[in-house]
């Protein structure tokens, strides 16, 4: 029952493992872009409310309405970047 060993390579899901790795790069770029979007959003909120720059290391927590809007914006962002994976056409093509 103890006959199990850890795999030495990451799992792959595509015929060409290069695609697995490239999708990983794309996903991390999308992650970093979201982090940048979040940072910009908070900076804009801060400037709008106070007109001052964010002190280094400080955290500006948005108001509830802004937080809900940010949640909705993030979900829309995720849907937008992932929806091409579903393979659904946006327009009708000739057969």
């Amino acid at each position: 029952m103890d006959d199990i060993h850890a795999a030495t390579a990451e799992q792959t899901f595509f015929d060409d493992p290069a695609l697995d790795r490239m999708f990983g790069v794309i996903f991390r770029i999308a992650s970093e872009l979201q982090m940048t979007r979040l940072s910009v959003r908070r900076m804009e909120a801060l400037l709008e409310h106070h007109g001052i720059a964010l002190p280094a290391g400080a955290s500006h927590l948005p108001a509830e309405a802004d937080r809900l809007a940010a949640d909705e914006d993030r979900r829309a962002y995720v849907e937008n970047i992932l929806s091409p994976l579903l393979g659904r056409p946006s327009s009708r093509s000739a057969a």
């Binding site: 029952m1 103890d2 199990i4 060993h5 850890a6 799992q11 899901f13 595509f14 697995d20 999708f23 990983g24 996903f27 991390r28 992650s31 979201q34 982090m35 979040l38 940072s39 908070r42 290391g57 400080a58 955290s59 949640d71 993030r74 979900r75 995720v78 849907e79 992932l82 929806s83 994976l85 579903l86 393979g87 659904r88």
Partner: protein, 347 residues
């Protein structure tokens, strides 16, 4: 933004990706399967689904969202480092007599060879593994498993059979045990697990909650350190599918030994028959580093329980929340099942 805000923002992002995966991608995949099955039958449909791009992306995302949650730049493992010293200090000790660790307990090879759930170092590989595991569990699945609601619902099913002495096996960081202890305040609850880091967190939280009827002990489910007939109920939550078949047989036999005659065995775990859902379940097992899950789904559990000495084994679907359709779910879900049996009065 500071580091804490960045990590929280990243967790929110991964959570929404998982939500999209669970809902939109799952439904699209199910629709595609049903179309293919209508054309060519279930087995062919699974083969075609497996070869298609949608399933490949579905599988990739399941694997890598989990990986990023633990191991990415903003992952849980990195996030914990800033608080390591304070947390290690908080976890130390026996928490008012609520914890008994056993340094002689050795981790079986089946447990230590693979990083379950993609948790680097597994659940016993670092002093803060329990803290990381708890944070991961809270972020695993948008919906039913993010709170104690699932465990409370399971604990409700034990009404009338729990008795005065309860053994909760494979208790991890104590989510199931503390819920059972709260549900049955007049009972004495013993939680056991192999992973000391998880037990330390469980005992800390029991102490903080001032739970007086709960004790944790480091032990192997296959060699329980209790006298025969010590318990009225042996329970577990999400343990059985982590055990290879031989260990499962040993655990069932040990459970039967430590139960009093007439005592009850109740486990919350996963079983699925539907070809499409079983296909996704087996894939999940592989992608989530749970190598015995698919075999557990295929094994004759009722027979294994009977061979271990139990009577009247049952397997019943468990619906984790109101409105969930376990036959044709609207989102990806675990196929929750209650597996129960009784120790005969004369054995």
């Amino acid at each position: 933004m500071n580091r804490v805000d960045l990590q929280a923002g990243f967790a929110d992002f991964l959570f929404d990706v998982k939500r999209y995966w669970m809902r939109d991608m799952f439904v699209s995949l199910r629709d595609e399967y049903e179309r293919l099955a209508a054309e060519a039958g279930a087995a062919t449909a699974i083969d075609r689904l497996r070869a298609g791009p949608l399933y490949r992306y579905f599988a990739w995302l399941e694997r890598h969202v989990q990986n990023e949650k633990y191991s990415g730049r903003y992952g849980l493992v990195a996030a914990i480092e800033d608080r390591r010293a304070d947390m290690e200090a908080a976890l130390a000790g026996d928490h008012g007599g609520r914890l008994t660790l056993d340094p002689t307990v050795t981790l079986p090879a089946y447990y230590s060879a693979v990083d379950t759930h993609q948790h680097p170092g597994n659940l016993a590989g670092d002093a803060l593994a329990g803290v990381v595991y708890k944070a991961s569990a809270a972020a695993t699945q948008p919906g039913s498993t993010t709170t104690y609601a699932l465990h409370e619902r399971f604990a409700e099913t034990l009404d009338g059979i729990a008795g005065g002495h309860i053994l909760d096996v494979g208790c991890g960081f104590g989510k199931s045990s503390i819920t059972i202890a709260r549900r049955f305040p007049d009972a004495v609850v013993e939680g056991v697990d192999l992973a000391a880091p998880c037990l330390q967190l469980a005992a800390l939280e029991a102490a903080e909650a001032q739970t007086g009827n709960l004790h944790y002990r480091q032990a192997d489910a296959c060699a329980l350190p209790y006298e025969a007939g010590s318990f009225d109920l042996v329970s577990s939550t999400m343990l059985l599918h982590e055990l290879p078949e031989e260990a499962l047989g040993d655990f069932f036999a040990e459970s039967c030994r430590v139960l009093r005659p007439g005592g009850r065995l109740v486990h919350l775990d996963f079983r699925v028959d539907d070809p499409f859902l079983a296909f996704l379940h087996a894939g999940h097992a592989h992608r989530n580093n749970e190598p015995y899950m698919a075999a557990f789904n295929a094994m004759d559990v009722a027979d294994a329980l009977t061979r271990a000495g139990f009577a009247a084994p049952t397997l019943e679907p468990f619906v984790e929340a109101d409105g969930v359709d376990p036959v044709r779910p609207a989102t990806w879900r675990f196929p929750w099942t209650i597996i129960a049996a009784r120790k005969p009065l004369a054995s």
